[in-house]
């Protein structure tokens, strides 16, 4: 095995591993699979937001149906995640609309739907709480303290205050949540559309009371996730498993679009308040931020979303005196959860609109204000993390400003219906704080006759996991990309590499694979795979996560190194206003991202373009209308996501400032692109003279907003 320059895969646009299957229709998603004797399942859900279940009337003949409620759970009736607070099936209490109560299965889908319509449930209703400000149950409170806030405010010439609001957002993967549970070998196997096989594995062990080896989870080709298939699959897999356990037959549970939108997790809405001390020349002296997120009825991943949110809440700016207080609280709405960006889009929206308002207040150029305060290498973040040489805030800012011709356009658009706005942002790669150490992820590499096979639980959900991992392994082993295979994410075959979330799959799991490949290469010692296997029989190398030396984190005080590395981004977005309807149309995005190293430039660019488009929806179109605790617009007809006609031209520039502990210098890329567009768009609307501070910035909201001259 010898590497030649020509065979190098990293940095080249090699063919996507499963590309051909996806363009020919051969790729099998969960709804494309059937099993002999398979039943279809449905979930009966609460029609109230808070109260107690009194009676359940089936209203149909039971013959041919499998019917299950909380009493049919063989183990513990919980969806095991951070806290065991969420029942898999409601017992007596109901805490949100669409809470699962009863499960039905039948071999005929029509009969099943008919039966579902005949079920009636009596409740004793209670008064629900929908306003997070009025919640009496806090899931998690975090306080970050740096320096001396009072001293910082004393040094300020001006204090700028502001309140910013962000709405719910639906992930809207095009393939709805779905699984098939199959009873086999005295246990359960679940095939499903999911991001984190081992999350589901643990949830099923607890729910069914089974040992490790009796539960198997296999990811099927997954039609998008964006966080929406991080924790929710543990719930739907649990439901299918309960039905399969009871009926002793395979059960398919695939949501339709309405059910998926009404019942599954969304991005946390929030209110973020800033109070910033600043000198006349634009130096930030004190930053005080209050973050309130609405977690919905159960904890899910809310504490971790809040954690990433507060750590990113200052934006990429230095300041010696900082206090950030964050809370995520319970309300009687369906639980919110993971969505690309995971708290950071919410808080950085507030930070970047606030930065624009500071510039407006001081009457100084907002690019200069950002340049003055942007993180440099050696600066410390709010948690006291000292930033490394790969800190690129200034570089992405300057590149975006010059590439977009920002200053000239801003002058030229003044007084017209065109606007232009900018946002500077950063995003930590990998689990927050000590998360990676706790996860202790493993990856394995197996020698094959023709090369090597990757064994990881990381899932391909569109971002190119298999391809990018194979590139890293190929170049480290010095073998052709085509000689590297990737095993299915099947808990019976692959070790627990942790969840496929948090922009960690390349930087963290990719690094473990690189170390596996290094050891395999040493072990081969120049022998061919065939010779080695003939001599020794087999070779599997397994490695566990090992962080860079000197990383420190204290979860009690929230001090230390919050992330191994940060990516850096700057967006400039141009918009046009329809003078009659106040519809805002984004026309052009200039996105500059520094990601360490683009292992596969086409895939990396795809992450930036796709994340940008989702954020355009977040900023302008995607409004979840909650009425009495339920999503009133749970259809694609009235929950609008960007189509070709709503998505602007996106000009992407990728910069590379290598992170020394990432594979080939790579940092994370998946989430960061969704942090910048919303504030850039709102700042573009502000350049039209409208004081908008909340999203989605629908025409109604813009019309209601005061004009800038009036509110200053």
């Amino acid at each position: 095995m010898g590497a030649t320059e020509k065979s190098r895969a990293v940095g080249r646009n090699v063919p996507r591993k499963e590309g051909l299957d996806k363009v020919t229709g051969a790729a099998k998603y969960v709804d494309d699979l059937t099993f002999p004797g398979m039943l279809h399942g449905r979930t009966i859900r609460s029609t109230i937001a808070a109260g107690e279940i009194e009676n359940i009337h089936l209203g149909f003949a039971r013959k041919g149906f499998t019917i299950a409620d909380c009493r049919d759970v063989p183990g513990r009736n919980v969806v095991a995640l951070i806290e065991l607070d969420q029942p898999c099936l409601a017992e007596r209490r109901v805490r949100h609309f669409a809470e699962p109560i009863l499960l039905l299965a039948h071999e005929d889908r029509e009969r099943l739907l008919e039966a579902e319509s005949l079920v009636a449930i009596d409740y004793r209703e209670e008064t629900p709480i929908y306003d997070p400000e009025k919640s009496d149950h806090c899931f998690k409170e975090i306080r970050i303290e740096k320096g001396d806030l009072a001293r910082g405010f004393a040094e300020a010439d001006v204090v700028v205050e502001g309140e910013y609001r962000v709405g719910l957002q639906e992930q809207l993967y095009i393939e709805p949540n779905g699984v098939i549970a199959v009873p086999e070998n005295g246990g359960i196997t679940v095939y499903g559309s999911l991001q984190c096989p081992y999350y589901v594995h643990r949830a099923l062990r607890v729910l069914l009371g089974l040992s490790d080896d009796k539960v198997r989870v296999v990811q099927t080709e997954t039609g998008g996730g964006f966080g929406g298939k991080e924790e929710y699959p543990s719930m739907i897999a649990g439901h299918a498993a309960i039905l399969a356990w009871k009926s002793r037959r395979p059960v398919k549970l695939v949501y339709d679009r309405v059910e998926d939108m009404v019942a599954t997790t969304k991005r946390h809405p929030g209110v973020i308040r800033h109070s910033t001390g600043v000198t006349r020349d634009g130096t930030l002296t004190a930053i005080k931020i209050d973050v309130l997120l609405d977690g919905g009825a159960y904890m899910t991943l809310s504490p971790v979303v809040l954690s990433r949110g507060v750590i990113h809440a200052t934006g990429p700016y230095r300041c010696d005196h900082v206090r950030i207080q964050g809370r995520v609280v319970a309300t009687n709405t369906p639980p919110n959860g993971a969505f690309r960006g995971f708290g950071a889009p919410q808080t950085q929206f507030a930070a970047e609109v606030h930065m624009e308002r500071i510039a407006e207040t001081l009457g100084i150029d907002s690019v200069r204000l950002r340049e003055k305060n942007a993180f440099r290498p050696g600066d410390t973040t709010s948690t006291g993390q000292k930033l490394g040489r790969d800190t690129s805030a200034l570089r992405v800012l300057r590149e975006a400003v010059s590439r977009s011709d920002f200053r000239a356009k801003r002058r030229a658009y003044r007084g017209t219906n065109r606007g232009i706005g900018l946002a500077l942002f950063f995003h930590g790669s990998g689990f927050t704080g000590g998360g990676e150490v706790k996860l202790a992820s493993k990856a394995s590499l197996e020698l094959t006759e023709t090369g090597a096979r990757i064994l990881v639980a990381s899932t391909e959900i569109g971002q190119g996991t298999r391809t990018m991992h194979a590139q890293i392994v190929a170049d480290t082993l010095g073998i052709p990309y085509d000689a590297v295979e990737v095993a299915a994410a099947d808990t019976a075959r692959v070790p627990d590499s942790g969840p496929t979330v948090a922009s960690r799959t390349c930087m963290v799991v990719g690094k473990i694979l690189e170390r596996c490949a290094q050891e395999m290469r040493r072990e081969l010692g120049g022998r061919s795979a065939q010779d080695y296997l003939a001599e020794r029989g087999s070779l599997v190398v397994t490695k566990e996560y090992s962080g860079p030396d000197g990383l420190y984190w204290d979860d009690e005080t929230y001090r230390g190194d919050a992330y191994g590395a940060f990516g850096w981004g700057c967006d400039v977005i141009e918009v046009e206003r329809d003078p009659e309807t106040w519809q805002i149309r984004p026309t052009r995005v200039t996105a500059v991202c520094e990601i360490g190293k683009a292992i596969h430039p086409v895939l990396a660019r795809g992450q930036i373009e796709g994340g940008t488009a989702q954020a355009v929806g977040y900023a302008l179109l995607e409004e979840v209308a909650m009425r009495d605790g339920r999503m009133a617009n749970a259809q694609l007809t009235n929950y609008l996501v960007p189509t070709t006609l709503d998505t602007p031209e996106i000009d992407v520039t990728i910069l590379e400032n290598p992170y020394e502990h990432g594979p080939f210098g790579a940092k994370g890329v998946g989430e960061m692109p969704i942090d910048g567009p919303a504030p850039a768009i709102v700042n573009a609307i502000r350049s039209l003279g409208v004081d908008v501070r909340s999203i989605p910035a629908t025409p109604e909201r813009i019309l209601e907003a005061p004009s800038l001259s009036a509110s200053r």
Partner: protein, 135 residues
Amino acid sequence: MQAPPMKRLLDVLREECGLTGTKEGCGEGECGACTVLLDGMPVNSCLIPFAQAQGSVVTTIEGLEGRHPLQDAFVVEGGAQCGICTPGMILAAAAIPRGATLDEIRLGLAGNICRCTGYTSIYRAIEKARSRRHR
């Protein structure tokens, strides 16, 4: 092909014909994941009762047999990420006349939602497929 007249064309294709390349994303004709060509015209197969397809030629992604230039171009340019919208997107793109401008391509794909790509790589794929075809 025999099936109940009011059964959705989508279900007939997937269940009776075993052609699972056609996907269901919303079931209400908004997302376009179930796009097939009916006598060469893109339609949402979730909105078409089987009876309406009588006597028509239905082309699904399987019907392109992996040989359409768009298919390779979607792989090379990153036009397919998660892949769930891809069969419908490729069929909708195949129905756009040659020589269409970018705005006309946008209009031609306006009924097909992709949540992964931001569409830009899809335009690049279409452009690439055309330049090959003309060679």
